[in-house]
Amino acid sequence: METKKVELDLIIKGCIQNERKAQEKLFAMFYGKMLSVCFRYTIDHDSAQEILQDGFIKVFEKIGTFDFKGSFEGWLRRIIANTAIDSIRKNKKKPVLFENDTDFVSEIINPMEDAEIESFKTLKAEIAMEAIKKLSPAYKTVFNLYVLEEYTHKEIAEILGISEGTSKSNLAKAKQNLQRMIETKLVKFD
């Protein structure tokens, strides 16, 4: 077993005991990654920090239910992402104006040639973040959940209270918009 895994297990066990030192270590360990998750759903630093704190409170409350079998980071990430979605819901009555199911027509998408996209091997993380931020809340949320958090459309539909078709439609349009940003050199690839 890797030392890191052992250390993490010890920290988690400390958190289960509600030990502040362990909680601080866990917070510091995942702060950077989880704040980046929060950033994808919000527009400003303060909101992201607030969501992060709410998320970690939930994590510390629920950490006793972690079974040490799966990936802890995955478990943590889901709680943080769900907190972000809850936060969007709370802050606005109709936070994400999801489009009607009928809007989804995959054929309308005119993607870049695969070969062209293939040539873009890497995309700077900051630019990717910037591009996602430029998406509308509806597209951004579905794109985050589907592509980055790897939820299924069915799960997204349940989480957001929309239909699967709407989820697919929003994803397709999010991707289309991101693609347009690439084409118009709004974002540049290395």
Binding site: M1, T3, V6, E7, D9, L10, K13, G14, Q17, N18, E19, R20, K21, A22, Q23, E24, F27, A28, Y31, G32, K33, L35, S36, F39, R40, Q49, L52, Q53, F56, I57, F60, E61, I109, P111, D114, I117, E118, F120, T122, L123, K124, A125, I127, A128, M129, A131, I132, F143, V147, L148, A172, K175, L178, Q179, I182
Partner: protein, 407 residues
């Protein structure tokens, strides 16, 4: 279109904002509200114990004062007031020592007796109440502080993980006792400034100690169960590519495997491997494993080899036969193993070499190179093979006899 997904996924996969320590400060404050760290009941007891000590200290002081000449000069009412103040102080946690002392002072000025001795007495009483002249509220003055014990507890420096049956020395360099408890039911106290050797059993171990009247608990280390190493060997040895093969396989899945022979030479680092045993008898093989939890275990077993290996050489041939498989002589293993060698055929009567070859394509055809004649039948000749490259545990030299049979 999925490429877009991939590109964004890859680019954001490892994105990490820099850590801001202030974030934890804010987080910690919220945690104090949402998930306050509970003080165990024992700390409550300790608070009362500390309070009791103060009462005893005050009472003792005045008992002593009564017997000293200076106390005779003191106004009795001041003593009584002071005692009452001490009790009040214990009961009303919010008040500071300093505040109580000030009240006493004002009360003293109201008394008619203003002799300097009273002032001296008051100062002494004040010192007993507040030995370190602390402005801190009484509730934060711990039993430890009153007893002159340190305000910091250093938990022993140990590893974060151990394995079953390991013995660890826990050094408690504090002036306070240290408790060591485990989820497996283990419970021990290591006295102040002493050490203890503890044999570990699987479970989570915690340090427990009383500091500033609070029971503190910290995860110490985790002890993992040992996975006992064991292996099995193929019952029958087989020959593969000219070599004797016995498959040995660990019965447990582990993260690391090390197979050793009786000389400590590493035979393999795989879970299962083909071992080669060349001589008849028992061969001690040790398997050391490191389980996935990091714990190590090893076992040594004898693997029985039923027959010595001699390059799979036949002991007779028929040079006059038309069958190419039997009309020349070369130990069979040399055809399979593809290793550099030298083979000599020796006349047992004279010790002279009558044939030598280094190539598997030039086996001995039964001709004595000295006379260019076919050797006599039914007479055993000696063959010797020297290998330039050998397997672990294998001899470089082999020998046997070869006899010509007539067709």
């Amino acid at each position: 279109m999925n490429n877009i997904e991939e590109i964004f996924r890859n680019s954001l996969k490892n994105i990490e904002a820099p850590y801001d320590p202030k974030a934890w400060e804010a987080m910690s404050k919220r945690l104090d509200q949402k998930l306050p760290v509970k003080n165990p009941k024992t700390s409550f007891k300790w608070t009362w114990f500390a309070s009791g000590l103060i009462v005893i200290a005050v009472a003792s002081y005045f008992a002593i004062q009564k017997n000293e000449p200076k106390t005779i000069l003191a106004d009795k009412s001041v003593q009584q007031k002071t005692e009452i103040s001490a009790e009040n102080q214990i009961e009303s946690k919010g008040k500071s020592v300093k505040q109580v002392a000030k009240i006493n002072e004002s009360e003293i000025t109201q008394t008619t007796n203003t002799k300097i001795e009273n002032q001296i007495q008051f100062e002494k009483a004040h010192l007993i109440f507040n030995p370190a002249k602390i402005d801190t509220p009484i509730e934060t003055i711990s039993a430890n502080a009153l007893l002159g014990t340190p305000s910091v507890f250093k938990t022993p420096k140990t590893g974060t993980k151990y394995c079953e049956n390991e013995i660890v020395t826990i050094q408690n360099s504090n002036d306070l006792s240290l408790g060591l408890v485990s989820s497996n039911g283990f419970n021990s106290v290591i006295k102040a400034n002493s050490s203890s050797n503890i044999e570990l059993n699987p479970g989570d171990y915690f340090y427990s100690y009383l500091l500033n009247g609070k029971k503190e608990r910290e995860i110490a280390f985790t002890v993992y169960a040992k996975v006992k190493a064991d292996f099995y060997a193929d019952e029958e040895m087989v020959f593969y590519k000219g070599l004797p093969v016995s498959n040995l396989s660990s019965t447990n899945t582990a993260s690391k495997y090390t197979w050793l022979n009786d000389k400590g030479v590493v035979l393999s680092k795989e879970k299962s491997f083909d071992a080669h045993f060349f001589s008849k008898g028992n061969h001690a093989v040790t398997l050391a494993i490191q389980a996935e939890n990091g714990c190590e275990s090893k076992i040594t077993k004898n693997v029985r080899c039923e027959a010595s290996y001699n390059l799979l050489a036949m002991n007779s041939f028929i040079p006059t036969s038309s069958n190419s498989k039997i009309n020349t002589f070369l130990p069979y293993a040399l055809l399979e193993r593809n290793i550099p060698f030298t083979m000599q055929i020796i006349d047992p009567k004279t010790g002279q070499i009558l044939y030598e070859t280094k190539s598997e394509s030039e086996p001995w055809d039964g001709i004595d190179k000295r006379t260019q004649q076919l050797i006599a039948p039914s007479t055993p000749y000696i063959w010797k093979v020297n290998l330039e490259k050998t397997e672990i545990g294998e001899s470089k030299n082999y020998q046997g006899t070869i006899t010509r049979f007539e067709d």
